[in-house]
């Protein structure tokens, strides 16, 4: 048997993966592209070519416009929260203190929960009748009657908070690993120079973790853009449609309205957004830090 060259061996090892990954990417994407130009009739089991009708329909859909606003709010709030929380957590975990190893375990726990479990935990935390937050506020005497936290005005904010609760641990660990690459000497020098905490953060820590923060932000954007389970299970998109993001609306168009062509057309918006973000992410990886 002839010896394989490195390149041949590499291609031999990767080929199955290429085929697998290409199939699972191309099939659903191609199929949904085809669907988006057709109108499917389930009873007769037929599909009729309708051109760009499904795409034009989006312009007149007020529910879609509304869900866009919800998505934008959710994505921005979740991303900002994830960056802030993961940065603060990482800065604290980088300190030396007693109980540090326990805190490290506690911090990772929210990440271990499925998006579904997070949604249910959120529900139980905020419920009007038996939610923990209401019980806590009542027992401190701040309120008498239970508050409906998941109301039409603030439901999206609570979704963003719980989504951030779920995702931030990963960002925290990522930023922490960047902090750990900073040479101790730099801090010593800064202390000798009498630099304050904030000037040490700005001049020593920040340049080392800037990149990690950026990556965390882009990933948070990607994850929150495609997120659907948390709104589905925590608020059900309600009250009414007040917390229905595009993804959940899309899901409804598919499985409740069974308007497959139109649903496929909508799904291209989410996909396009995620593809753009992924390209940005990839560019970031290749940029010299």
């Amino acid at each position: 048997m002839p010896r394989l060259t490195d390149r041949q061996l590499a291609i031999f090892l990767i080929t199955p993966l290429i085929i697998f990954v290409a199939t699972i990417n191309l099939y659903p994407i191609g199929y949904s592209l085809w669907l988006s130009f057709n109108k499917v009739n389930l009873l007769e089991n037929t599909a009729t070519y309708v051109g760009t009708e499904n795409y034009l329909k989006m312009g007149n859909d007020v529910f879609l416009t509304q869900s866009f606003l919800v998505s934008a709010r959710f994505i921005i709030e979740a991303t900002v929260l994830i960056i802030i929380i993961s940065l603060l957590t990482a800065l604290v975990l980088a300190q030396r203190f007693r109980g540090q190893s326990i805190l490290k375990v506690l911090v990772i726990l929210p990440w271990a929960l499925s998006e579904f479990a997070v949604a249910i935990a959120g529900r139980f935390f905020l419920d009007r009748n038996y939610g923990f937050l209401n019980s806590l506020l009542k027992s401190t005497g701040l309120i008498k009657e239970g508050i409906n936290f998941l109301n039409a005005t603030f439901a999206v904010e609570w979704l963003a908070i719980f989504f951030a609760w779920n995702v931030a641990p990963l960002g925290a660990y990522f930023i922490l690993s960047a902090i750990q690459t900073i040479p101790e000497d730099l801090y010593k020098q800064a202390r000798i120079d009498g630099a304050s905490y904030f000037s040490r953060f700005r001049n020593v820590t920040f340049p080392f973790i800037r990149y990690a923060i950026l990556i965390t932000g882009v990933l948070a954007c990607i994850l929150s853009t495609s997120s659907v389970v948390i709104s589905f299970a925590m608020t059900g998109g309600g009250p009414g449609t007040a917390s229905t993001p595009v993804t959940l609306y899309n899901f409804r168009v598919f499985f409740y309205n069974q308007d497959y062509g139109y649903g496929a057309a909508i799904s291209w918006i989410t996909l396009a957004a995620v593809v753009l973000l992924t390209i940005a992410y990839f560019r970031l990886l290749t940029v010299r830090r």
């Binding site: 199955p16 949904s32 990772i108 271990a112 499925s114 579904f116 009748n129 990556i215 995620v274």
Partner: protein, 291 residues
Amino acid sequence: MKIRRDRMLVYLAAILIGLWSIGPIYSLVIISLMDVRDVVAGYIYPYNPNINAYLRVIGFDVQGPYGFLRAYGGSKQLMQGLLNISIIAPTVMAITLIAAVPAGYALGRFRIGRLRSVLIMILLGTRSLPPVSVALPYFFLFTQLGLRSTLQGMIIIHLTITIPIVTWILMGFFAALPQDLEKAARIDGCGRLEALTKVVLPLAAPGIAASAIIAFLFSWNDFFYSWLLSQGTSAATYNAQLSGFFNFQNEPAMFAAAVTLQIIVAAIIASVLQKYITQLKIVDPGTVVVE
């Protein structure tokens, strides 16, 4: 004095972060340990704690503090779901490793020029494909192939997510391992494959173990695809069966208990995994590989 104040601030921040991290989990667990009446009464600690809700969820009638309580009506299906996911998740884990270890090794270690950038881009794309965009095509495909509501189908759908993620992580992990030992082995006459099995794999064992856990955790935690393709059938996973509790809004304790059972496994796994997370560069293996 100033140092003392700084220390105090660190501890205060640590406590706040700890509370933030476990608050919602704590509230879920205490609700699962109380009778519905005590839950509604608004206790912030488990008052009259008992495991009745857990017993009812797994199918027992119990004598509660306020009277007789029947077992959860869907407990049989829920236990079937537990059995299903206990078959699915380890299988997903094993197949993921078989596919991802060689691929991750090749992507992380070989210089194969442009092809690698393209592959990494595709991997990244797959990893971030929004579930909603693929839901309907998969739904139709799995229905046509007869894979919907079968365990094989569930395993396949989970693999479409775990293989790209784990390959991505292992790629970074292999790239970060020191190259010298492998080179030395090759100079001593080992072939690539021999060097891989005798030198690199033992070195990479912790990373591979952690990736296995991640694949398991994904499968164990998946709700969307399980719900989409198996809900209401005999192949439904534990998570998919949990959605049945939406019809039991007046039984928060049982719902909380059922979710807690699911979380416990995930939490144990994550606390084991925690030590390896920074080492693994889970968030961003690409930084190691893409130059």
